[in-house]
């Protein structure tokens, strides 16, 4: 199978899954309607609609980790192609990536020393 065919197959699978879910919804609807009763559709809290908006700002207390995560996530984009040719390139590949990772790891240690690795 060519790559295009494989991706089309995966797309077909995603659409097929959607079809299964929709038919399940149809089946459930055929088994009976949902009765509209007061208070039934209030989200779980104290029984009334919440006073404060839920879609407000949320203090992301892990933002120190999140910033470091961005650096490490970018690094992973380089790691996959590197991993495939690693055996071929041998020691050079180990040193190349070793230097890169060492710098990144020093950054992690620095962040740690500055208190980035805690819930703010």
């Amino acid at each position: 199978m060519s790559a295009t065919q494989q991706y089309l197959l995966l797309l077909g699978m995603a659409i097929g899954t959607l079809g299964v879910v929709l038919s399940l919804y149809g089946l459930a609807r055929a088994m009976g309607p949902t009765r509209g009763e007061p208070g039934k559709d209030v989200p779980a809290s104290a029984g009334t609609m919440s006073r404060d908006p839920v879609w407000g700002r949320y203090h992301v207390r892990y933002y120190g980790y999140a910033l470091l995560f961005l650096a490490f996530d970018m690094e992973m984009a380089y790691m996959y192609p590197w991993a495939v040719v690693y055996k071929e390139e041998g020691l050079v590949a180990l040193v190349d990536m070793g230097v890169f990772l060492a710098i990144l790891f020093l950054g992690l240690l620095y962040g740690w020393s500055q208190g980035a690795l805690r819930r703010q």
Binding site: T34, P43, S50, W55, Y62, A66
Partner: protein, 298 residues
């Protein structure tokens, strides 16, 4: 044909897992329990919250299911039993499971309920903790196989399974996989008794059934990935290849349920701390050790 077989195997594994899960909950082993429970969910009312973001609310369960299915589609059951043997299979697996986060944030945002929203944001923090521990061990696996093709990764383990070759990577991947599937002790987004079900809280009836099925398939997908990446996939004596894949997948999935059964839920701050202060240095060490092993041992 092979597609139908793989999908059927996926369903059978999920069925067994659901059976065992209901066994731990009720104390009775009932072969038809998953079917009865599913039908009961279909018969119940499916309530939509009063002021929802309808698009997010409806998309979340479907997206979670699709993500789990796509992840399973690139994992081989036997040399020829695979839906799509992509050239970048290991990478695609990561990409598909990244949508678990999107689905859970949507599920948290959609119903406009406080508990659900907290659950959704919590999972974002959980992703920041576990994500590196999924991708870094897979890198070390790809280094040994010299390929991102999942069948080639299994092929590279014919003489020695990766669990022996890189045990550190296995432990990290196993823990991170449990966090990705938000099984206890990492069930932060759906914490029962603490968030009233969190992301699950506002889903009822058939939508909850789809959400539960998606969670189950997610566990199966990750157990299957553990098998493919670390437990030698289809390799094994006597039995046919597909049987070994199924047995190993089921064993890993059951072990994940068991571990979660006996551990208390971990706090988000602790999870982040452990993953970044211990997990990531260990994952980097694992890559270094595997790199040395590849160069030294021919």
């Amino acid at each position: 044909m092979s597609i139908a077989i793989v999908l059927f195997a996926l369903l059978v594994t999920a069925w067994f897992l659901a059976m065992i899960e209901s066994w731990t909950a009720t104390g009775r082993l009932h072969p038809a329990a998953p079917l009865l429970s599913g039908l009961a969910h279909l018969g119940r009312e499916s309530v939509v919250p009063r002021t929802p973001d309808r698009v997010f609310f409806e998309t979340a369960p479907v997206l979670l299911l699709v993500a789990a299915m796509l992840g399973a589609a690139v994992l081989p059951l036997a040399p020829n039993l695979i839906i799509a043997d992509l050239a970048t299979g290991a990478l695609f697996f990561n990409a598909a499971l990244a949508y678990v986060l999107v689905a859970l944030i949507m599920g948290g945002w959609g119903p406009n309920g406080a508990y659900a929203m907290v659950g959704g944001w919590r999972f974002l923090g959980q992703l920041i903790a576990y994500a590196m521990l999924i991708v870094m061990p897979i890198t070390a696996v790809a280094m040994r196989a010299e390929s991102l093709v999942n069948t080639a990764i299994v092929g590279s383990q014919e003489s020695l399974w990766n669990i022996v070759y890189q045990p550190l990577g296995f432990v990290l991947f196993y823990i991170a996989a449990m966090a990705l599937a938000f099984r206890p002790p990492f069930d932060l987004p759906t914490a029962e008794g603490e968030l009233a079900g969190g992301v699950d809280a506002e889903y009822t009836g058939v939508r909850l059934a789809v959400l539960r099925l998606a969670r189950l398939l997610l566990v199966v997908t990750l157990a299957s990935a553990t098998t493919v990446f670390y437990l030698g996939g289809w390799h094994g004596p006597l039995l046919p290849p597909w049987a070994w894949s199924l047995i190993k997948t089921l064993a890993v999935a059951v072990s994940m349920l068991l571990v979660g059964h006996y551990l208390p839920r971990i706090r988000e701050a602790d999870l982040l701390g452990w993953c970044w202060k211990l997990g990531i240095p260990l994952a980097l060490l694992n890559i270094f050790i595997v790199g040395l092993l590849i160069l030294v041992v021919p």
